[in-house]
C-alpha cells in the first residue's frame, strides 16, 4: 500500500544484551566448529524485559503512543498478553491499547505496520535457543528493538514512503507450540522461494513510492532463513551498487527472530544521513517491504547498535545452558521463593512495574513505593507521583550475598540513592561482582526476579549506566 504521507517514524531504539557465547564452544559440544560469538540475554531477562529495555528510551522523553504492538517468537506467557507488562513498565496510560502479535518471525514487520498505521509503538524482542550444540543455539541472538510513529510534524526521524507485502504458504522453518526447538527444511528450498517473493515486494514498494532502486542508500533484509537473508541482501546491494547493509549483524550477534528486522533497521537508521532512502525487507512466510526516507532528526533514542556491540561480557556455554534451565544447577539450600500475589501486585502495579513513588507535598521527601505516611515529616496521604523513568542512581553501599536465592549466584545487593531523591534496595545485574564500588552510577532495568509456580515475577534491578550517548551531534 502507499502510506499516508502524514505518518512518520518519530523515535527508534535497539537493545543488545552485553553477554556473548563463543560459537566454537557451542559447536564443540557436538564436534562442530564455529566462528565468532552470539549475543545472549542475561539469566534474568526474557522477551518482555528486553522489550522494556528497548522501548524505555523511546518513551523517556514523554512520547505517548496511541497503541503498543509487541512481537516475539518467545513469549513469556501465552493466553495472557505480554504487552501489558511492557505497557505497565513503560508507565503508559491505561487508555493505550497493548497487543501481542503471533509467535512467528513475520510479526516483527507486522508490529511496525500496525504501529505505523495507528501512531503506535512497535516493540520486538526475542530470546532464541535451539538444541544444545546445534545451529539454532549457535547462530541465534537475543535482541530487541522499538519504533514509535506519529503524525508527521515536518521533522521526523524518517518518513514511511510505502510498504508492500506478499503472503505465501510453504514450510521453510517451523516449530510446534511448547517446543523449544524448531525445524528447518533444506535451506536452499526457502532461499529460492524467498528470492521470488522479495523481488515482488521490492518492485511494488519502489513503484508505489515512485523511486528507483538505484536511489536506495541502505538495505535491510532479514529472514528466519539466514542464508536467504544474506543472499538476498547481497543481491540487492549489488543491484543498487554499493548500498549499505546490516547483514554482518548475523555474524556479530546472530539471528534474533522478530527483533532481527528491528535491530538491523535501527542500525541503518543510525548510520544514514538525512534524505537517505532505506529499503527494509522481511522474508518470512511471504515477504514484506518498507521504504523509509531518513529525516533530519534521525538519532537513536538508545546507545547506537555499533556502540552496544563493544560492550561485551563473555560467558561460558555451560553457564548459558544453566541460565536457560537446560539442566538443573545447585542452588542455595533455602526453600523456594513464594509466588507473588496477583491482587497485591495489581494494587502495587505503579511501583512493581512502573517503579513510581511519591514525593511528600509537605517536606519534599521522595520515597518508594508511594506510602500512606511520610517517613520524614509523617504527613498522611499527601504525595505527588514520582516517576524514575530515565533516572540514574548511585550505589550508596552493596554486598555480595552467597546465601540468597538466585538463578545465577552470588546475588549482588545494593542500596541506591536515586537521582532526584529517594532510596531503593535492589539487585545489581549485568555486573562483575568484583568491580562494584560505592559511588558507581547505575540505571534501573526491568528484570525477571524469578519464576515461581509459573508466575514470572518481574521487578526492577540496576545495571551499570551506559556511557553517555553522543546526543549533541544529532
Amino acid at each position: 500500500m502507499t502510506t499516508d504521507k502524514s505518518v512518520a517514524l518519530t523515535r527508534f531504539s535497539a537493545y543488545v544484551p552485553k553477554y556473548r557465547v563463543s560459537r566454537a564452544q557451542i559447536g564443540a559440544l557436538v564436534g562442530q566448529s564455529g566462528r565468532g560469538k552470539r549475543a545472549i540475554a542475561n539469566f534474568d531477562e526474557d522477551s518482555t524485559t528486553m522489550a522494556v529495555e528497548a522501548a524505555a528510551p523511546i518513551v523517556a522523553d514523554g512520547t505517548q503512543p496511541d497503541s503498543l504492538w509487541f512481537a516475539t517468537t518467545s513469549p513469556a506467557y501465552v493466553d495472557k498478553v505480554n504487552a501489558t507488562a511492557v505497557h505497565a513498565a513503560l508507565g503508559l496510560p491505561s487508555e493505550t491499547a497493548a497487543y501481542d502479535l503471533g509467535a512467528n518471525f513475520r510479526s516483527g514487520f507486522a508490529s511496525i505496520l500496525a504501529a505505523s498505521r495507528s501512531g503506535g509503538l512497535a516493540v520486538m524482542a526475542d530470546v532464541r535457543e535451539g538444541k544444545a550444540g546445534g545451529p539454532d543455539d549457535k547462530d541465534s541472538a537475543d535482541l530487541a528493538a522499538a519504533f514509535s510513529f506519529a503524525p508527521d510534524d515536518g521533522d521526523p526521524a524518517a518518513t514511511v514512503l510505502a510498504t508492500a507485502s506478499r503472503s505465501a504458504e510453504f514450510l521453510d522453518r517451523w516449530r510446534l507450540p511448547g517446543s523449544m526447538t524448531g525445524t528447518t527444511w533444506e535451506e536452499r528450498f526457502g532461499q529460492g522461494v524467498y528470492g521470488g517473493l522479495g523481488d515482488a515486494v521490492v518492485r511494488d514498494v519502489l513503484e508505489r513510492a515512485e523511486v528507483a532502486l538505484s536511489d536506495v542508500a541502505a538495505v535491510v533484509v532479514t529472514s528466519p532463513n539466514a542464508r536467504a537473508a544474506r543472499q538476498y541482501a547481497a543481491g540487492l546491494q549489488k543491484r543498487v551498487g554499493g548500498a549499505r547493509s546490516s547483514s554482518d549483524l548475523l555474524d556479530l550477534l546472530g539471528n534474533s527472530g522478530t527483533a532481527q528486522f528491528g535491530v538491523e533497521l535501527v542500525d541503518q537508521l543510525e548510520r544514514a544521513s538525512a534524505g537517505d532512502l532505506v529499503l527494509a525487507v522481511s522474508l518470512a512466510d511471504g515477504a514484506d517491504a518498507l521504504l523509509l526516507r531518513v529525516g533530519e532528526r534521525s538519532a537513536s533514542a538508545s546507545l547506537p547498535v555499533r556502540q552496544q556491540l563493544e560492550q561485551v561480557i563473555e560467558v561460558d556455554y555451560a553457564k548459558y545452558l544453566l541460565w536457560r534451565g537446560r539442566f538443573a544447577g545447585e542452588s542455595a539450600r533455602r526453600p523456594d521463593p513464594t509466588r507473588p500475589s496477583s491482587p497485591f501486585a495489581s494494587r502495587n502495579v505503579d511501583f512493581k512495574f512502573g517503579l513510581q513513588g511519591g514525593r511528600c507535598r509537605k517536606c519534599g521527601t521522595v520515597q518508594f513505593p508511594r506510602p500512606r505516611v511520610c517517613l520524614s515529616c509523617k504527613a498522611m496521604d499527601d504525595f505527588d507521583d514520582v516517576s524514575t523513568a530515565g533516572r540514574t542512581a548511585t550505589v550508596a553501599t552493596y554486598t555480595i550475598d552467597r546465601l540468597a536465592f538466585t538463578a545465577s549466584p552470588p546475588l549482588v545487593g545494593a542500596v541506591l540513592d536515586l537521582e532526584g531523591g529517594g532510596r531503593l534496595q535492589c539487585e545489581l545485574t549485568d555486573v562483575d561482582a568484583n568491580s562494584i564500588a560505592v559511588g558507581n552510577v547505575v540505571q534501573m532495568t526491568f528484570r525477571l526476579i524469578n519464576t515461581v509456580e509459573g508466575i514470572r515475577n518481574y521487578f526492577w534491578k540496576a545495571r551499570p549506566a551506559d556511557a553517555v550517548a553522543t546526543t549533541e551531534e544529532s
Binding site: P340, L411, F459
Partner: protein, 396 residues
C-alpha cells in the same frame, strides 16, 4: 504521655534454660516441658501456682496452645507473643506488666524455638504474602552492609574492623567453652574465624550466630512477695521496646552505622533504671550478637563506647570475660546458639546466674555492681525492633 518506670515493682524468682543446640531428638513440646519444669523446680512452685503465661515463639507454634497443650494446662490464660528476635524478651515484658498491674500474682514467661526440624542450615522466616518486590537478601547480607559504612564514616580501616569482628567471635566462643548449656563449646582460633568461608560481604560462616533449638523461662512476682520464694530475687529495673519506623532501607539519610531503635530503647531503659554510665554501672551485658559487626556497633548504641571507638574498645579486651564490662559472658548468640524465641530469656537466665553468684567457673568479677542488661535486635539495619531490659540484685 510517657513510659513510666516500673523499677523495683516486679521480681524474678525463678529461671531455667535448656541446653541450646541441634536437638534432633527433642520436639518443641519437649523443650517447653524441660524449660518450664526446670524453672518451676528452681522456684519451688507447681503449674497450678502460675496465674498466667506468656509464650514467646517466632515460628515454632501458633497461639497460647503452643504452651498449654504440652503442659496440659487447665483453665489458664496463655498468650503467644511474637516480635522477631525480641520475642522471648517481649513475653517477659508482658508478664512483668501483668504482675505490675495487679492483675495476677505469679506469671511465667517462656521462650522456645525449634529451628532444626526444617532441613535448612540457616534461619527460615515465614513471610506474609507479598507482590514480589521485597528485596530478597539473606540476613547476613543485610548486616554485612554495616562494616563498610562504619569504616567509611569513622575512618576505620578494613583490617581493624575485620580484627574487631574476629575478636567478637573469638571472645564469644571462648565464653561458651565453660557453659554446659552452650551449643558450641570449643575455642576457635582467630585465624580460623578470619578465614572462614564467605557468606555475604566480608562475613564468613564464623561471623554468624548459631542456629539452634532451645527454650528458657522465668517466673515473676510482685517485688514485695519475692522473698517468699527465694533469698536472692532479681528486681526488674527497666523494660524498653522500640519497633522502628522501618524506613531505613528507603531513607537516604540512614547511613548503616547505627541502630536508631537501639539508641532510643537504651535512652528509655537507662532513664527508667537511673543509669548514667552504663559501662561502669553494669555488671554485665547480654547483647544481640547475631553477626559480629552487630556487636561492634551495639557497643556504641548501648553507650558502652564512644562513637567511632568501638573497634578499639573491643580489641583492647574491654568487653572480654575479664574486661571492665563483660559482654555475652555466656557465649552470646554466637556460641550459646540462637533459638530465636528463647534467646531473650536465655540472656535473662545468664543474668540470674551471674548476679546471684551461681555461674560457676564462668562467674564474672564484676557481679557486685548488681545490674545486668539484656538486649535484642530483630530485623535488619534500619528496619528492626529492639528490646532492652535491666535487672538488678538489690532494691533501690
Amino acid at each position: 504521655m510517657a513510659t513510666h518506670s516500673l523499677k523495683d515493682r516486679v521480681a524474678i524468682i525463678g529461671a531455667g534454660c535448656t541446653p541450646f543446640g541441634e536437638h534432633f531428638d527433642k520436639s518443641i513440646d519437649d523443650l517447653i516441658v524441660d524449660a518450664v519444669t526446670e524453672t518451676l523446680k528452681d522456684s519451688g512452685l507447681d503449674f497450678a501456682d502460675i496465674d498466667a503465661y506468656w509464650m514467646g515463639t517466632y515460628i515454632s507454634g501458633i497461639s497460647g496452645l503452643t504452651l498449654s497443650r504440652p503442659l496440659r494446662l487447665e483453665g489458664k490464660p496463655v498468650t503467644r507473643v511474637e516480635n522477631m528476635c525480641a520475642t522471648g524478651s517481649d513475653a517477659f515484658r508482658n508478664a512483668v506488666y501483668a504482675v505490675a498491674s495487679g492483675a495476677v500474682d505469679v506469671a511465667m514467661a517462656v521462650g522456645a524455638e525449634k529451628l532444626k526440624d526444617n532441613g535448612y542450615s540457616g534461619l527460615i522466616s515465614p513471610r506474609p504474602q507479598d507482590d514480589g518486590t521485597r528485596f530478597g537478601t539473606s540476613a547476613p547480607a543485610s548486616f554485612s552492609l554495616l562494616g563498610p559504612a562504619y569504616q567509611a564514616r569513622h575512618g576505620v580501616d578494613a583490617e581493624t574492623f575485620r580484627d574487631a569482628m574476629t575478636h567478637v567471635a573469638w571472645k564469644n566462643h571462648a565464653n561458651g567453652v565453660p557453659n554446659p548449656r552452650a551449643q558450641f563449646r570449643k575455642n576457635i582460633s582467630k585465624e580460623a574465624i578470619a578465614n572462614s568461608p564467605l557468606v555475604a560481604g566480608n562475613l564468613g560462616v564464623l561471623d554468624c550466630s548459631g542456629v539452634a533449638d532451645g527454650a528458657a523461662a522465668v517466673i515473676v512476682v510482685r517485688a514485695e512477695d519475692a522473698h517468699k520464694y527465694t533469698d536472692k530475687p532479681l528486681y526488674v529495673k527497666a523494660l524498653a521496646l522500640v519497633a522502628g519506623s522501618a524506613a531505613g532501607p528507603i531513607d537516604s539519610t540512614y547511613d548503616y552505622t547505627t541502630f536508631p531503635e537501639v539508641r532510643a530503647a537504651a535512652a528509655d531503659a537507662y532513664a527508667q533504671a537511673g543509669i548514667t554510665n552504663p559501662r561502669r554501672e553494669l555488671a554485665l551485658a547480654e547483647v544481640h550478637d547475631c553477626f559480629t559487626p552487630t556487636e561492634i556497633l551495639l557497643m556504641e548504641d548501648l553507650g558502652f563506647s564512644e562513637v567511632g571507638s568501638a573497634c578499639d574498645d573491643v580489641l583492647s579486651g574491654a568487653f572480654d570475660h575479664d574486661g571492665d564490662l563483660p559482654v555475652n559472658c555466656d557465649g552470646g548468640l554466637k556460641s550459646f546458639g540462637h533459638p530465636v524465641g528463647a534467646s531473650g530469656l536465655r540472656m535473662l537466665f545468664e543474668c540470674w546466674l551471674q548476679l546471684r553468684g551461681e555461674a560457676g567457673e564462668r562467674q564474672i568479677a564484676t557481679a557486685d555492681r548488681g545490674l545486668a542488661l539484656t538486649h535484642n535486635l530483630g530485623g535488619a539495619p534500619g528496619d528492626c525492633v529492639s528490646f532492652i531490659g535491666i535487672v538488678g540484685s538489690q532494691l533501690g
